[in-house]
Every structure is written in C-alpha cells, then in structure tokens.
C-alpha cells in the first residue's frame, strides 16, 4: 500500500470522511475485518458423519482444510439432531485432534518398565504369532462334559460399542474362524 493510501485508511481521517464521527462502525474496521469470512469457506471438502459418542446418532459435518480436520459441527440435514450437538459431540474436533492422541505403536515387553517403539507391520506379525501360539496351546476339543467344543478359551476379545457395524461383524467372523468364543462388548458393562 502506498503512503497516501495508508494515510487514507487511517481511521481518524475515515471517521471524518465516512461520517463515523464517533468512531463506532465502518471507519474503524481493519483490512482484515473487512475481508473476514467463515474459515469453513476454505475447506477442501466436507463430509457427512455421525457423532461417535452416545447412541442418539447425531449428524455431523466434518470440514477438512490442508489435510487436517478444521471444524466439526452438527449436520442440519439429520432429522434426529437437526444440526444440534451436545458438549461431547461439539468437542469432536477436540477429540480427533486431541494432544493426548497416540499415533505410533507402543510395545511393552513382559516385565518391562518402559514403552518401546515398534513398527506397525512388525507388531501385526507378532500379534498374529501370539494368536496362533496361544490358540494352539489352549485349544479345547471338548468341554468339561465331554461334548465337542472345538474352540480356544485362551483368547478373549472385548469391545465394539464404539466401533462400526462392519468392524463388529468382521471381529465376530474372525473370532468364529479362530474358535474364539469369548467375544464381548460394552453392552454388558
């Protein structure tokens, strides 16, 4: 901006020029204020989502900007929530961008006193090995009564009430394939 333009933008002069003698309104706006827009205008894309907390099932709009979640708010299209959210739902961006979130695999060896680093793929390999070993070691062809059970009682799974249906289904299906019967979720807790 050229000097005379800068002076022209000086609010004291604009107060006089623009008739805002008391300096209350237009004359005192900064350039930034004049150009203010909601930041969601700059979102690369918006997707419709569902709140992950309770089971009301409120609709959410997730705004993504620069590869990050920039805003999450209620989806007015949802006939259940009509765009509204509770404090937890309203804190969803805080949840998914929480400083407490972990992004790396952590490994604690037996009797260890500290977490250690581990590559994801290595962790997956190790977990697969553990499942196979424990399954073999604890395979139970028959129950106490002698009836065929064909299962392992050495492995259990817990969780699901905050997972997607598809995830729950796949967990159950894998468990059935592996002979794991102790599959439970929050419904009982």
């Amino acid at each position: 901006m050229k000097p005379h333009e800068l002076i022209g933008r000086w609010p004291v002069l604009r107060q006089v020029a623009e008739g805002d003698t008391l300096g209350r309104g237009k004359a005192v706006q900064s350039a930034k204020t004049e150009q203010l827009r909601p930041r969601t205008d700059e979102a690369q894309h918006v997707v419709q989502s569902i709140c992950p907390y309770c089971a009301v099932g409120c609709g959410q709009l997730v705004y993504v900007r620069d590869g990050k979640v920039d805003q999450i708010e209620g989806d007015p299209d949802s006939p259940i929530s009509r765009g509204r959210l509770c404090p937890k739902g309203a804190a969803s961006k805080n949840l998914v961008t929480s400083p407490s979130r972990e992004y790396k695999v952590k490994y604690r060896r037996p009797h260890g006193t500290e977490w250690e680093e581990l590559e994801l793929d290595e962790a997956m390999e190790m977990i697969a090995d553990r499942v196979i070993e424990t399954r073999t070691a604890t395979w139970q062809k028959q129950g106490d009564s002698g009836a065929a059970t064909e299962r392992t009682m050495g492995i259990a799974m817990l969780g699901g009430a905050t997972l997607d249906n598809e995830e729950n289904y796949l967990i159950k299906k894998l468990a059935m394939g592996l002979g794991v019967v102790q599959v439970e979720n929050q419904a009982r807790i």
């Binding site: 099932g57 997607d164 394939g177």
Partner: protein, 869 residues
C-alpha cells in the same frame, strides 16, 4: 423387550417422542446423557405433554420434568408393578387392544403357581441349582419353546442379550385355550391381576420411599394420556440396563404399555436409550459370546451337537422366527462361502461351541486363573469402566499378551506402570509378565462405516481424511490380522485350522494404507441371492444354501445395490418420519409393531393418532411408515391350523416375531427368573422385602472370591447406598472425554454428591474430600453437598445416598479415583445390574490412605465371600 414384543430394539424413534402426550422417564437421565435426543421430549413438553422423571436423584432431567418422583434405587419393579395394579384395579386398560393384541386371554398351564402362592417363588424352582424349570409357565395345552437367546436348559444363566430379537415359539398356530372375556382364573389377565394385587399405592410408597400421592400422580397421568386419542411413551436407559433383572424392569414397562395400548403407535412405545454410538449395532452384529449376528444363538456344546439338533432346538415354526433355518444357513454361507455345503452341514461344525457363562466378568476371573492368556481390547477400558475394575486390573496383569486398540493410552494399556495396585504394593511392574501391544486406532472421521443408533437406525459416516501415523481402523486391523494368520497357517492340515482357512476373507482394499472396503462388508451383512445380487428383504432368504446373509435383520440395507445406511436426504425435505434418511432395521421400519397403530379392524384408533392402517380399497396396509406386517394381509385374516411362519399369524396380531403374534403380558417362555416381573431387594440392600419372605431374587448367582468380596447385607458398617452414573460433560470411562481439553475443563475433578444431612452426619465439608469405602476398595473424591441428594425415607428410615460419577481414572487431563472400583464384579448379570444401581458403602471425611494403609483400611471393614441366599 424381546420376550414381550419379539424384538429387543427400541419400539419407536426419538423424533416420535414429540408426539407423546405424556412421557415417563425412568432409569434414565436423558437430559444429561442424551441431550440432543432430549430435544424431542422438550418439544413434547412445549406442546403440552407431561414429562415425568422417576429416579433416585434430582438430575438435569428432573429439573426439566413436570414431575420428579425420587424412589429408592432398585425399587423400580415395585413402582411399575404398582402402575400395573392401578390400571387393572381402575379398569383403565384399552380393552380392544388388550383382547386382540396381547396374550391376556390365553390360559396358562394348570401347574403354574405364582409368587403370591409360593411367597416369592414361581413354580418350578430347584433350590439346589437355584434355577427354575420353566415348563409349568407355558400356555395350557401346548408346549412352548424359546427361540433365540434361550439358554436355560444347559443350566447356565444370565446369557440373554437384551437388545436382540427373541421370542417364544409355538408348535402350531394359535394358543389352544383362550377366554375372550378375560374371566378364566388361569387366563393371563387374571394371573396378572393376582400377581400385582398387593402392589398397592401404599405398598409402593413403603418400598420405594415416595409418597402415595406422587405415585398416584404418575399412574393417573399415564392412564389419562393413553387410549384411542392419546399416547404415552416410556423412556429408559442403563438405569434399567440390558441384563436379566433389567429385562424384568423393561418387562414391567412393556406390560404397562400393552395394557394401555401404547405399543406400535405414534407418541407411544418404549424408547431404549443406549449409551454408545453403536451399542445396538455391536449386539446386533454380535460381539457377544452367546449370540451370532441377528440374535441367532451360539450353538451349545451339549445341546446343539449338530445342525439338525441346533435347528430343532432353536428354530420356530410360527411367526417370522419360522424362517430361522434360512437365516442361519445364510449366515454360515456368508462366513464360509463355497466351503459351506449341504454335505458338511453348511460348516456348522466350524462354529465353536459354548457351554457356560463366557461373559466378560468370567473372562476377567479366568485371566487371574491363567485360563485366558491373550486379550484384545477394541475401544474399551475395563481398568476403569467395569464394575470392580480392580479385579479387571488383576486380570490384565495376569495375561501373556494384551492388544489395546484406542485413540489414547488408556488405563487398560498403562496399568503395568500406573495401576493403583502398584501404589498399594499388590502389583509390581517388574513382576507383571503381560506383553502389551498398543496399536493406535483411527477416529470416526478417518474411516467409512456405519453406527446403529439407539432407534435401530443404521447411519453411515463417510471418511473425511486418512488416519495419521500408525493409526488404523479396526476394520483394517481385523482384516489384516486375519490375513496374516491365514497366511501363516496356509499349509496346515490340522482340522482345527479349517474354519479359519475356509473363511471367506476376500475384501477389496484401497488407498495407500490398504484399507478394506466397509461398503463391501456391509453388502455381505446385507446378503446376496443366488444371482449374486444384493437382497432386498430377509423374506427372500433360503435354507438351501442358495443365499448368503451376514445378519438377517440387516437384510435390505443394501437392497437394489444401494448403501441405504448412507442415504442423507435432508430431514426438512421429507415427512416427519424421515424414511429416506439412513435405514432402520428391520426393513426400514421406524415404529415397530406399527400394525397396532390401527384397531383390530385395521382402522386408525383416532384421527389424532393415525399412523399405519388398512386401506380396504387398495387391499394393503398404508400410512406414514413401512408397515410392520405383511403388506397385503387383511386385518380379518385367520390362519389355518397347519400354517407355518408368518402365515400362522392372524390379521389382528401385530407382534409378528412372536409365535402367536401377540404382545406378551405373561412371558410363557424366554426368561429364567419368572414369567411376571417381581420386586426383589438388591443383594446388598439394607431392607427386607415387604412383599415376600424371599428377600432377593432367588436365581441370582454370586461369584465371590478374594478379589471380589461382598459387603455383608445388611451391615451397620455400610450404612449408605451409593450409585454410579454419568455426567453430560464426560463419556463412560473417560477415554474420550478426560483426554479432551474442552470437556475436561467442564468437569475437572472427581467428586461425589451427598445431601446436607449426610454431610452433617459424617462431618463432610462442601468442597473438601471424602473417602468412600466398600469391601472392594476405598476411593477419594471431592465433596459436593447438595439438596439434590435427598435421603429417601423407607419404612420410616432415611436412606442416605452417595452419588458417584464414574468417569475418572489414573490418566488423562483430569485424573481421579474410579467410582466403579467400589462395585463387586459379578458373574451373574442379575447381581451386576442391581448393584450398579445400588450397593452399600461407608463414607468418611478426608482423603484416603496411600499405599499399604489403603488395604488396611479396607480390610478393617467387614466382607464376605459367602454366596448367601
């Protein structure tokens, strides 16, 4: 609800609450725990409806209600039973509804004896095993069998799943003996009258601790606002829970709603409010040990030795359970695909078998006993969230390996370095042999998938962005783990590896992370026909192996090859029912049993409450919703004697999953602890049962052990009642809220709530500290003295309550002791349920001792490991 109506899901949807003329909220703190759903209650209130809250505490829900009636925790059946009695005594039932739509006219087996006859027991009790032989509870003249969820015969208990579909099934058509006049002394109606006749307003007042007037106001308001022109809804939540006694709480509500004619009608129904985004879905799709997806029972090792015996034990003949075989075979096909053939019983033998209680509490104890060695946690934090979380932590510390999938390092992942038992010296980090894998999870915005909400509505959420770092969806984790295991076992000849190797496990992956397609999984759940196309309805499922379907109740969600869960037609652009927003099971029905919104002749009960009705000209059921009835079955339809499945259901019987098509006032099958709900005292209750000399539920089963002692009951050492609950500002065990700055600051510290009277009695200072003690442990909390915690006067004796929000743990932005540490872990959900509502405790001023002194304090209090009756 399954036993009463046929399906375990909420009978209605949240928006429909706005149509109610009265709403009874009980066992739920809806305004706090489901604030956005509560808008529909507020809308009803603004339209003139009366909102009633019956709850021990004065909560934010009570603040909004037109009526708050405080009752003693654990006395809900007495209160509701009183309403049943009020309806019957004052002839307030909707006669046509009761006669046609319920089993009120049905005559029960002559051997049946009521708790009125046996002083707190029903006929058939085996005092040694402490279980009932339920055969005397059946309809006279015919055997009735249970279908899904049935387990009693194996001698194990507490295995019902609360959300599911379950129903009795009749061998043939209609019940053989009925009395349309409802006068026969053994007809259900008369049995009901007899069972509840002593649940008088005076008795309710005595047991529950409310006044007679308060009770009468609730009862009368419900009656006034029910009938042809008006409807009332009942809302419940975890306060009643999904377990066996919870089932009886809900059963009592179901009886009320059936008598008043409120089921299947707009503004009526029973709204079950679930606490987690997909708790309905997780039970529908069966991360429960005793059911397969769609509430098909897990085969039992002794009873279900092969496909034939399994089908024989579980398949129904009449009602929609009549197609059980088609649902089950189709599921086996979706698991094992082409490997599943008629010749190998469709891989029935591949399914592992159950033979007892394998629920999470048993599992925790089995960890301590080194039976369970490996454990997966998917978004679950038992080290904080479970009753007697101390026991859970001992369990975790006894494992060989543990896999934790979560957003943050939860207490269940870090117990080896920060469990409270390290401080007391009971555990030592170096001595804990558990190998822990923490594998970070993707959030809901980082993956595609669906949640099933509290009204059975399956809603899709779209991925917004890729997860960062090692974060992955559980779909990714499970799929790739399965893939790796299958690769490692690929060459195996061991027969036990066939089920895993033969599993259909071909899912398309995409993107840099090789994310499997959730859409494809949903399509598999929906099922495909012989032509490979997605099916549109479970009515098309076949028992011959030509169809595959992961979960029959979800069949249709991918009809016409469209992901209907992902439908997002704005609510404002459709009718109030919003049928084109997402998809509800079954078959996109929003109000279940909605045939009951028309009278026996198929006409709307009233203009005001019109919903689904018979259009005589079009010869079909029409209205606001998808009719929950065969579309073209006229109301006058009478089944033939040899009719099967849905064809055996008459045109005036709306409960099409039930074997007789009726709502069950009397549960002739499906429940192990009684066909009619009965008031029993909680196990640790300080009171006797004024109704029967049998004090507590005779079928309850305790699991005492050193890590899980009980408070002697009654005991002067534990003079107070406490209950744990949630706050709006936090979520369950806190993993998704204590770690979130904007939520942590709203409720930044663990506190307990006490009345001024209790504060005075124990010298507790507002804003100071208190130590709460049970035989399990002692915890400390800040003290909030408030008039909201009124003592409830029972039998002339004030019972002080201690309120304990349970969200805290050792980690997060706000830390604190865990309220659930106080509870006994219970093998039997009967006890668990009762005691999360109400267990006894002591409370003392000041902070708790540290280190070993903590255990010394706890051990200075009496405890028992006896399972007394």
């Amino acid at each position: 609800m399954g036993t009463s109506f046929g399906r375990g899901g909420a009978t209605t949807f949240q928006q429909d609450l706005a149509n109610s003329d009265a709403i009874l909220i009980m066992g739920s703190n809806m305004a706090e725990n489901h604030p956005v759903g509560f808008q529909w209650v507020m809308e009803a209130r603004l339209k003139g409806a009366t909102v009633m809250h019956v709850d021990p505490r004065f909560t934010r829900t009570s603040a909004m209600a037109n009526l708050h009636v405080p009752i003693r925790a654990g006395s809900d059946i007495a209160f509701l039973g009183g309403i049943v009695n009020y309806i019957l005594e004052n002839e307030r039932w909707l006669d046509e509804y009761v006669k046609h739509f319920t089993n009120a006219p049905v005559i029960i087996d002559e051997r049946f004896q009521d708790t009125e006859d046996l002083d707190g027991f029903f006929s058939g009790f085996d005092p040694d095993k402490r279980i009932y032989d339920t055969s005397t509870w059946h309809y006279a003249g015919m055997p009735v069998q249970e279908t899904a969820g049935e387990r009693a015969k194996g001698g194990t208990k507490g295995e019902q799943s609360g959300h599911g579909a379950q129903a009795g099934h009749l061998a043939h058509g209609e019940p053989p003996e009925e009395d349309e006049t409802l006068q026969h002394p053994r007809c259900v109606f008369q049995l009901l009258k007899k069972h509840y006749r002593r649940y008088t307003p005076e008795m309710v007042s005595q047991i529950c601790g409310c006044t007679k007037e308060q009770f009468l106001e609730v009862a009368e308001t419900l009656c006034e606002n029910s009938g042809r022109e008006r409807t009332s809804a009942i809302v419940y939540s975890v306060g009643w829970t999904q377990h066996t006694v919870g089932v009886q709480y809900i059963r009592t509500a179901a009886i009320i709603q059936l008598l008043l004619g409120n089921i299947g009608r707009p503004g009526g129904g029973i709204m079950a409010l679930r606490g987690h985004a997909s708790i309905q879905g997780s039970t529908d799709l069966a991360t429960l040990y005793n059911v397969l997806p769609g509430y098909l029972p897990m085969p039992h090792a002794e009873k279900d030795t092969d496909l034939a015996s399994y089908l024989d034990n579980h398949a129904g003949t009449t009602g929609w359970w009549g197609h059980f075989e088609a649902y089950f075979i189709s599921q086996l096909k979706s698991f094992w695909g082409a490997n599943s053939t008629e010749d190998n019983d469709f891989c029935f033998d591949y399914l592992p078998k159950i033979d007892g209680d394998h629920s999470t509490y048993q599992t925790a104890m089995d960890m301590i006993d080194r039976k369970v060695r490996g454990f997966f946690l998917f978004g679950e934090n038992p080290a904080v969230g479970s009753a007697n979380s101390r026991l859970q932590r001992f369990g975790l510390a006894s494992l060989d390996w543990l896999v934790v999938r979560d957003f943050v390092e939860i207490e269940s992942a870090s117990f080896w370095k920060d469990a409270p038992e390290l401080e007391t010296g009971e555990l030592k980090t170096e001595e804990i042999g558990t190998e822990v894998f923490f594998v970070p999870a993707a959030s809901h915005v980082e993956k595609d998938g669906s949640f099933t909400n509290t009204q059975r509505l399956v809603q899709w959420h779209f991925q917004a962005l890729e997860p960062e770092g090692d974060c992955r969806s559980d779909l990714w984790f499970v799929y790739h783990l399965g893939r790796k295991i299958r690769e490692k076992l690929a060459g195996s000849n061991d027969p036990r590896d066939r089920p895993i190797l033969d599993l259909t496990w071909q899912y398309a992956t995409s993107g840099p992370l090789e994310e499997p397609s959730a859409d494809q999984v949903l399509r598999e759940i929906n099922g495909i026909g012989p032509d490979g196309k997605a099916l549109g309805t479970y009515a098309d499922l076949k028992p011959d192996g030509s169809t595959a379907c992961g979960c029959w109740i979800y069949c249709g969600i991918y009809g016409d090859e469209e992901n209907k869960a992902a439908r997002k037609k704005p609510g404002g652009e459709q009718t109030w029912v919003a049928s084109n927003w997402a998809w509800a099971w079954p078959l996109n029905r929003r109000i279940l049993y909605n045939r009951a919104s028309a009278d026996s002749k198929g006409r709307p009960w009233s203009e005001r409450k019109k919903y689904v009705w018979w259009d005589g000209r079009k010869k079909k059921w029409v209205g606001e919703d998808v009719p929950d009835f065969q579309e073209d079955k006229p109301p006058t339809f009478v089944p033939t004697d040899d009719a099967k499945a849905e064809d055996a259901i008459a045109g005036d019987h709306p409960f099409i999953l039930q074997a007789d098509g009726r709502g069950w006032l009397f549960a002739a099958a499906g429940l192990m602890d009684g066909p009619l709900p009965t008031h029993y005292e909680p196990h640790e209750s300080p009171f006797d049962n004024p109704l029967y000399s049998q004090r507590a539920n005779p079928t309850r089963q305790l699991s005492p052990r050193a890590e899980n002692p009980y408070n002697p009951a009654p005991s002067d050492a534990y003079p107070y009642v406490f209950s744990t609950y949630r706050l709006t500002e936090h979520h369950t065990a806190g993993g998704m809220s204590r770690t979130v700055p904007y939520l942590a600051e709203l409720q930044p510290e663990f506190f307990c709530e006490v009345s001024p009277g209790l504060a005075k009695e124990r010298g507790l200072e507002h804003g100071g500290w208190a130590t709460i003690i049970t035989s399990r442990t002692a915890i400390e909390a800040r003290v909030l003295v408030t008039e909201r915690m009124k003592p409830i006067v029972v039998d002339g004796r004030p019972v002080h309550q201690v309120g304990v929000p349970y969200h805290w743990g050792t980690r997060g932005l706000t830390k604190g002791d865990s309220g659930n540490d106080l509870f006994p872990g219970a093998l039997d959900p009967i006890v668990h349920t009762q005691e999360v509502r109400a267990a006894s405790c002591d409370i003392q001023p000041g902070r708790r001792p540290r280190g070993k002194a903590l255990r010394e304090l706890v051990e200075s209090y009496p405890s028992t490991v006896e399972a007394s009756a």
